[in-house]
Symmetry: C2
Subunit: 359 residues, 2 copies
C-alpha cells in the first residue's frame, strides 16, 4: 500500500478548514487541461507514446519549482485500493481511480507536491491542478498558473492561435480551465430554495456536481459548482464570473440559514443535535446516511448550535469514512458488508476524542 | 400543588427496579373492588352518600395498620394537574385523573401509605390496591389482602354468598380482583411473535393493555397483562394462573432476545445505541417517540449492550417525561407546544448525569 504520509499533509491540506469562508466552502479546485504538441491525443496514444509522454513530463516537472519535490504515483501500477485512496483524497479523478483496471491507461500517473499536482495520461496528456481549503479561487489559480508557465517553458503544448489550448474533448478547448468550488448548502436545501438557485447558475453558464465530481450524486448537501465553458473568455474572466456567482450563492445560503433560525429555531436545533447523537452512537452507518448526518452537524457547527466542533474534524470525516480510507485504516481490503460498522466505529472515535479534547 | 415528596418514596417505589425480573417486569399491581353494604353503588350514590362513604372509610383506614399513616388526597378538590400527576405515578386510575372535571365524582379520594392504597368513590366505593417493583404477585396480594382483612373487620362489605363480593360493574363481581403485570416485550415485537403470544393469552382468559391501563394504547412495547375474569375462581387460583402465564411470556421474551442476539447482533446493537444517541441529544421529543426510544435503550441495558445504565433511571424516565410531571417540574401548567422541548431537556439531563455518575 502507498504511504500518503510522505505528502506534506497527506495530500489533504484542502480540508483543513483554514481557508476563506470555510464554514460553507470546503475547497476550491482549478485544473488546466494541456497536451503535448508532439504526441497524439487521448485514446489515440499507444502504450509507448504514453510512456514517452510521462517521461517527458516527469523530467520537465522535476526541474520546475512547483513540482521539484513532487511524489510520483504510477496509477497503472497501484492496487485498485490505493488508486481509490488517492481519489477519495481528491488527488486523482474518478477515471483514474476506477477499480475497473482496463480503464486506467498505462503510464497514467500523478505528480503531487503540496497543494499542486499534475495528472499525466488521463483524458489529456496533462491535467494541472490545484486544490486549496475554503473559497480561494485567485490563490489556487496563481499556483496552477505558475506550474503551467514553468511546464510551458519546458514542454511544447498543443496550442491553436484561434481556439487556444487543444484538448482531447472539445468541451475543454480554449483555456482548458475548469474551476470548481465545493460548497455546503443545507440551508438552501431545507428551505427548498436550492432548485431555484441551481437553475439560476445554469443560466449563467455554471454547472454543479456531487462531492466526487462528474457523475457523482449530490449527497449531504455538498455541491461542486464550476464553470461549464472554457472557450471564448479569458481565464481571469472565467474565474471572476465563477467567483461572483459563488459569492451570491454564499449570500443566499446565509440568508436561508437566518430564515431557518428565525422561523424554526427549535426544529433546526433538534435536527442538528439528532444528527450528532446518531453519529456519536450508531453502530452501523451507510455512506449516504453519514454524509447526511455530517451535513446536519456541519450546519449546527456553522450556526454555533454545536460548540466545540471544528470544521477540520468534520471535513476529515467526509474523507476518512469513504471505503478505501476505511480499508486502508484496516490494513487492506475490507468486505463491503463490514464497511458500515467500521465507518460507524471510526466516526464515533473521532467525535468522542473531539469531545474530550475540546471538553 | 400537592407535595408527593411526603410519601415515603414519592409514591414510586414500584419503579425502583428492585423487584424480581426487573429487567423485564416493571411492576406488579393487585386491586380489589369492594363496596359498603349500607350504601347504594356507583352512579346511584348522592353527593351526601359519597361524603359519608369517604368519612366511614377514612375513619376505618386510619385505625388499620396498613393505612394508619396514610396520606389522603381529595381528588375532587385537586387541580386537574395534580390529579394527572397522581395518575402518571400509577396511584389513581385514569377515571379519577381525567382533566374533564365533571367525571370526577365528589368525595373521590385516594388514601396511600407506602406501596398500598385505596381509591374511594371511584367506580366502586373502594378500590384497594398494591403496587410493587418487578414481578411479585404474591407479595403484592399479601399486602392488599391484609388491608382487605383489616378494613373488612371495620366495614361491612357487600357480599353475596353465591356470587362473592358485589361490584358496580358485573365484570368485577366475585373476587373483585384484578392483578396486572407491567412487562416490557421488545424482543417479541421485533421478532414479530407478539401477536401470537397475545392471542395465546386471550385464549387462557388474560388480557393486555398499555402503560396507563384500560383504554391506553401500547407504546414503547410496554404491556400490562392481567386477568379478565374475577368470578368462579379463588383469588389464589387467579393469581397462580396469571403468574404461570407471565412466566411463560417471560420465557418467550428471553428466547426472542436470544434469537435477535444470535441472528442479528449488529442490527440490534445499532438499534439500541441509536435510541440512546437520540435520547441523549434530541432537542424535541414527543411522548410516543420517547417511549419507543426508551424501549430500545431498555432492551440494550437488559442485554448488557449499554453498560452502566440502571433500570431505575429508565423507569423514572417513563414517568417523569409525562405531561403532568413535566408541568410539575416547571412549577405549573405548561403549554402543550412546550412539552416536547421540556421532555427532551429532562431526558438529556438525566442521561448525562447518569453517564457522569457511572463514568
Amino acid at each position: 500500500m502507498i504511504d500518503l504520509s510522505l505528502l506534506a499533509d497527506g495530500g489533504m491540506a484542502w480540508l483543513d478548514g483554514s481557508g476563506p469562508e470555510s464554514h460553507l466552502v470546503l475547497s476550491t479546485r482549478v485544473r488546466l487541461a494541456r497536451n503535448l504538441a508532439s504526441h497524439r491525443f487521448g485514446t489515440r496514444t499507444t502504450e509507448e507514446e504514453r510512456e514517452a509522454i510521462l517521461a517527458e513530463v516527469a523530467a520537465a516537472a522535476h526541474s520546475t519549482g512547483s513540482l521539484a519535490r513532487a511524489m510520483e504515483f504510477r496509477l497503472d501500477r497501484l492496487d485498485p485500493l490505493d488508486r481509490m485512496l488517492l481519489h477519495e483524497r481528491h488527488l486523482v479523478s474518478k477515471e483514474l481511480a476506477s477499480p475497473d483496471a482496463p480503464r486506467v491507461r498505462s503510464a497514467a500517473a500523478l505528480l503531487v507536491q503540496d497543494r499542486t499536482g499534475a495528472m499525466v495520461n488521463e483524458e489529456d496528456h496533462l491535467r494541472l491542478q490545484g486544490l486549496h481549503s475554503g473559497f480561494d479561487l485567485k490563490a489556487v489559480y496563481q499556483n496552477v498558473s505558475r506550474l503551467d508557465t514553468e511546464l510551458g517553458q519546458r514542454l511544447a503544448f498543443a496550442f491553436h492561435p484561434e481556439f487556444g489550448y487543444l484538448t482531447s474533448c472539445p468541451t475543454n478547448v480554449g483555456t482548458g480551465l475548469r474551476a470548481s468550488v465545493l460548497i455546503h448548502l443545507p440551508g438552501l436545501v431545507l428551505t427548498k430554495e436550492i432548485n431555484k438557485v441551481l437553475h439560476g447558475l445554469a443560466q449563467v453558464g455554471l454547472t454543479f456536481r456531487g462531492l466526487y465530481g462528474e457523475g457523482s450524486e449530490v449527497v449531504g448537501n455538498f455541491f461542486q459548482l464550476s464553470n461549464q465553458t472554457t472557450l471564448g473568455q479569458s481565464e481571469d474572466d472565467l474565474l471572476d464570473h465563477l467567483g461572483k456567482m459563488v459569492e451570491r450563492v454564499i449570500a443566499h445560503e446565509e440568508q436561508a440559514r437566518q430564515v431557518l433560525r428565525r422561523e424554526a429555531p427549535g426544529i433546526l436545533e433538534d435536527k442538528v443535535w439528532r444528527a450528532y447523537g446518531l453519529l456519536r452512537y450508531a453502530r452501523s452507518l451507510s455512506f449516504e446516511e453519514t454524509m447526511n448526518l455530517l451535513s446536519g452537524v456541519r450546519l449546527g457547527a456553522g450556526l454555533g448550535l454545536i460548540p466545540n466542533l471544528g470544521f477540520y474534524t468534520l471535513n476529515k470525516l467526509l474523507v476518512y469514512t469513504q471505503p478505501a480510507h476505511l480499508a486502508s485504516a484496516a490494513g487492506g481490503e475490507v468486505p463491503e458488508s463490514e464497511l458500515p460498522t467500521r465507518r460507524a466505529r471510526y466516526v464515533r472515535q473521532v467525535l468522542e476524542s473531539e469531545a474530550e479534547r475540546r471538553g
